[in-house]
Amino acid sequence: MGWVLRWVDGKAGVSFCSVLQIEALVKDMQNPETGVRMQNQRVLVTSVPHAMTGGDVLQWIIQRLWISNLEAQNLGNFIVKYGYIYPLQDPKNLILKPDSSLYRFQTPYFWPTQQWPAEDTDYAIYLAKRNIKKKGILEEYEKENYDFLNKKINYKWDFVIMQAKEQYRTGKERNKADRYALDCQEKAYWLVHRSPPGMNNVLDYGLDRVTNPNEVKVNQLSFSCVCTLTVMEQNKRSLLSEKRIVKYSEQFSSNDAIMSGCLPSNPWITDDTQFWDLNAKLVEVPTKMRVERWAFNFSELIRDPKGENLGFWEACEDLKYGDQSKVKEKAEEIYKLFLAPGARRWINIDGKTMDITVKGLRHPHRYVLDAAQTHIYMLMKKDSYARYLKSPIYKEMLAKAIEPQETTKRRQVDSTLPFMRRHLRSSPSPVILRQLEEEEKAREAANTVDITQVMSKLDRRSLLKKELPPK
């Protein structure tokens, strides 16, 4: 039988399909004739059966699947990481050591195949049992988890303690070797599902990772041989996403302050705040970089706070996601600023949308401006954006935009003299900036129309319309 294990994105994420294949492999290992060689493990005076060495397991995998040493090692590591096999001598190190260190199979109840969730309640019961066994001496992270769970599921705590005591007493009904094996099993299970800090936890993204269901859940059982982790086996999907990332990085690399330096100078290095001044939100003349960025992408343009339609867009977003207690005031402000006829920053939306919006503004709620917002967005995207880029306004802006000179030389000389007193200019505090913004807004609001007047006007208009037809 041939095997192919699909590694999602060529990395450590294992899909559900692969987990099934690992399970089939582990079941194959159980065969008394063709399976892995077993030996007994001596623990003090008892002897627990069914232990195997890492080297044996590795050899078995190599012979069974006809793969190389390195790939078998990798596969073995995954089998241990997912909890099908657990190490006996070094339980926190979930790798398959190719020497004589011992491993044992995990009981099927604890296999990850079924994707049964490792619930908090179960973990709490386990910790309580461990507490009893170790007479209160738990490890640091276990103590923390215990206290945390105690607060989280406090209402269940009576049940947790009851069940933990009973399970502990039940465990004593078995013989010593069995008890030892069962304890090891449970401990290994929780080391996989609730790893201590610092331990590599493959289940962080493992089986619950969001993967494409159509791609993965199809049961593919018959393929050609080898399970290889080379680049060629990577999904086409990952190649596509890589291309997109590369394109994005190339496009934005000149804008990235870390990759290609920033003009005039990086404020953190040279204490010169000119960069921040030039790129402040409401600056009159934006820098060249910024203007160029607008040409990349419509969403870049939207995000930039200069511009009218965009101002409306931003205000709508603020309404949607912002503080609900202020909805009424915000809605009124937006109306005064953008929607009322003759408003200072009037936006162009069609009559029907305007009607709906104004009616909705009577009882303002989070999504009252959605229709208008969508309309504006579509309008901007399809129509204005293309025209804007070709328009003389944009070209003018590009020409006017400053390309600030680099001011490195002077400052560097200053900073290299250690005892020179550096003149540190502090940037204006954000509180002051905010005050300035608010004052501006207040000035704009002073020249606008009251909402109720317009409402009554609309009503009168509709009444007139009703009167007209019967005539």
């Binding site: 582990v26 079941k27 159980q30 065969n31 008394p32 399976g35 077993m38 493990q41 627990v48 059966p49 069914h50 232990a51 044992r104 199979f105 995990q106 009981t107 099927p108 109840y109 604890f110 079924q114 049964w116 309640t121 309580a128 049992k129 507490n131 009893i132 007479k135 209160g136 001496i137 103590k143 215990y146 206290d147 105690n150 406090n154 209402y155 269940k156 705590w157 009576d158 049940f159 947790v160 303690i161 009851m162 069940q163 933990a164 005591k165 009973e166 399970q167 007493r169 039940t170 465990g171 009904e173 078995r174 013989n175 070797a177 069995d178 094996a181 069962l182 090891c184 099993q185 449970e186």
Partner: protein
């Protein structure tokens, strides 16, 4: 008293659930036999009977509107513990169904997983059923015959949980647990314990630890020898 009765039933259910959980852990492993499957069946029957009885009593008590607040709080606590037991039981039954189907014991037999657990579990089952010992009467293909029965029972338990949720409305998060963190370290009765975690008091009821007894005898022997030597020295000098 209704409360004592409920508590006793709940304790029994708790014990049976713990035993059932313990038995399900070994399904599919090297200790999986027809006997184990039979024990599972008997344990879960007992658990279901207890669950039905406890549920009925608790429902009657909680639907009684004339109940004092303190009593009501007590019953709500019992209710939360009861629903925890039921949830655990249902989950374990579901898992034993899946595992039982995945690891059939009848021929042609796929080899079971060699988990290192080899002994018998009849003591556990006897504990669950509060019996001294257990007689195994299972035939060769008990596990196969049992699966549809198990499936039906899983659905029944699920339905029971839903019914009870419908009849009794207990907001779980308002229930205050009586026992604090670390209460499991105190042996003896469970109610009323209050201490911060980490108390390591544990009395040993029953026979002493043989190691400690050995150490005690050795120490006393050495002490006697020392005393004898001292006397000899005193006599000689």
């Amino acid at each position: 008293m209704a409360r004592e009765e409920c508590k006793a039933l709940l304790d029994a259910l708790n014990k049976t659930t713990a035993c059932y959980h313990h038995l399900v852990l070994t399904v599919g492993g090297s200790a999986d036999t027809q006997d184990l499957r039979e024990e599972l069946q008997k344990t879960r029957q007992k658990a279901r009977e207890l669950a039905v009885a406890t549920g009925a009593r608790l429902t009657v008590a909680l639907r009684d509107r004339g109940l004092a607040t303190e009593e009501r709080a007590e019953f709500e606590r019992l209710w939360v513990a009861f629903s925890g037991c039921l949830d655990l039981l249902e989950a374990d039954m579901q898992r034993s169904l899946t595992l039982g189907a995945a690891f059939p014991l009848h021929a042609p037999r796929r080899p079971l997983v060699r988990t290192g657990v080899a002994g018998g579990s009849s003591a556990v089952a006897a504990r669950a059923l509060s019996a001294r010992s257990l007689r195994h009467e299972a035939e060769g293909d008990f596990d196969v015959a049992d699966l549809p029965e198990l499936e039906r029972e899983v659905l029944q338990v699920g339905k029971m949980i839903d019914d009870m949720e419908m009849k009794v409305n207990v907001p779980r998060w308002t229930v205050q647990a009586r026992q604090a963190a670390g209460a499991e370290l105190l042996s003896g009765a469970s109610a009323g314990a209050s201490s911060a975690g980490g108390i390591s008091v544990q009395e040993r009821a029953g026979p002493c630890d043989p190691n400690k007894a050995l150490a005690a005898t050795v120490f006393s022997a050495v002490l006697l020898v020392a005393v004898a030597l001292a006397l000899c020295v005193a006599k000689l000098s």
